[in-house]
Amino acid sequence: MGAMLFKSFEEKFRPILKDEFPRLVEYLSAGPRQCIRANTLKVDAKELRKRLEEKGLKLEEVPWYKNAFFVEAQEKVSKTLEYFLGYYFIQDASSLVPPLLLDPSPTDAVLDLCAAPGSKTTFMAELMQNKGLIVAVDMETKRLKALSSNLQKMGVTNTIVFRHDGRKALDMEFDKILVDVPCTGSGTTNLFFWSNKAVIKFSNLQKALVESASKMLREDGSIVYSTCSIDPEENEAVIDYAITQLGLKVEKVHVPGLKYREGLTEYAGTRFAEEVKDCIRFILSTIRQKDFLYAS
């Protein structure tokens, strides 16, 4: 990160994160830790672990999902025969959390509003045992190809894919909707998009996506909203908009094994709805993972 960018970043996030700010900087310097998720549509997770360990890979179970593992030998993970066979997916351990919170069942109709490249879509298909229905949409054709390629490799058969601007509601209703929005990525090592101007631009897009999702949600349905940004404008402000303008309610969630803190209820002189505190926020600097905020 350049000095100017860091100064601007520090000015914004040190007051928000306080004593956690050094942990964020530590994470941004270190980068993410490799994680793999066993694809139980094709293989038993224990059997996969045994096979990979026999090849010399060191695996450590992710505390919040028993079928995912941190892997030490990063350079080898995409070169194994098991990877070719689609027996596991390489992803950030943090991106396991939104599907776990959405908790899709084999009878659900699920919408993945910004689906590509598909780490969460393929995980949801797995959680649904390839039953029910997933509609996975994204804006960019190139990214849809990556999504389709990943779905094929994971052996997914319950998913429909097409190009669609998520800001426009489909003429359909869903039991569960994942709104994993485009964002500045300020909670990741990829800070190319981050600027105060970009934060506002993304915040407006994110509100439009949540609004569209709310129109397609069945009564008593659930939306999980997630970002890999740590900016309140892209997180708490969007949830506040969902509560005050769209009439959505925030449900308190818990992820066993994951340490997190509650959402901010005030930022830069703006007071958010009290329920916003039930969102979760985490920085995983000790295990070098991304930062996400969720609400459902």
Binding site: K76, S78, T80, G86, K131, L133, T157, R163
Partner: protein, 153 residues
């Protein structure tokens, strides 16, 4: 996707003829595209959405003379109960196969030259290839191949 729904029985019969495997595709809706590619979808997916979809699981491609070439995923569904047209590859040759190269089989189970064969290593199935004199010609799609410069472990 412009596809036509077909009876699973048609594909099951082809699989039995080619690979001696008695699989059931009853859990799927089976579709064929103009280019003879066969796709699978879980039962219950709405027809209008199938038409709209850019993706369905590619199972295989029907070729001349009632032959069927299987994708990696197709071979994984069929392989467990297959009894013929199986080429077993050793460690060195499976590495070549996943790079998209031709590979020498260690063992052949009920194979004929010129036929499509399931490619097996250990208990795993890696797709299909065509058996030539002394080698299996690979058909791994480019995007699926393990890059040559990446040393496989």
């Amino acid at each position: 996707m412009q596809v036509k729904k077909i009876s699973p029985r048609e594909v099951e019969e082809l699989i039995k003829e080619n690979y001696g495997s008695e699989i059931s595709l009853d859990n799927f809706n089976v579709f064929i595209r103009k280019d003879q590619k066969i796709f699978l979808a879980s039962k219950g997916l709405p027809a209008p959405l199938i038409e709209k979809s850019d993706y369905l699981l590619h199972f295989g491609t029907i070729k001349k003379n009632r032959k069927i070439q299987l994708s990696v995923e197709g071979s994984q569904l069929v392989g467990r109960t297959a009894s013929k047209n199986i080429a077993v590859l050793d460690e060195e040759n499976i590495s070549k196969f996943v790079e998209g190269l031709s590979a020498k089989p260690r063992e052949l189970v009920g194979c004929s030259i010129g036929n499509f064969v399931l490619v097996k290593h250990g208990n795993d199935f890696y797709g299909s290839g065509v058996l030539r004199e002394g080698y299996v010609e690979g058909y791994i799609p480019k995007e699926r191949r393990v890059m040559k410069e990446m040393k496989r472990i």
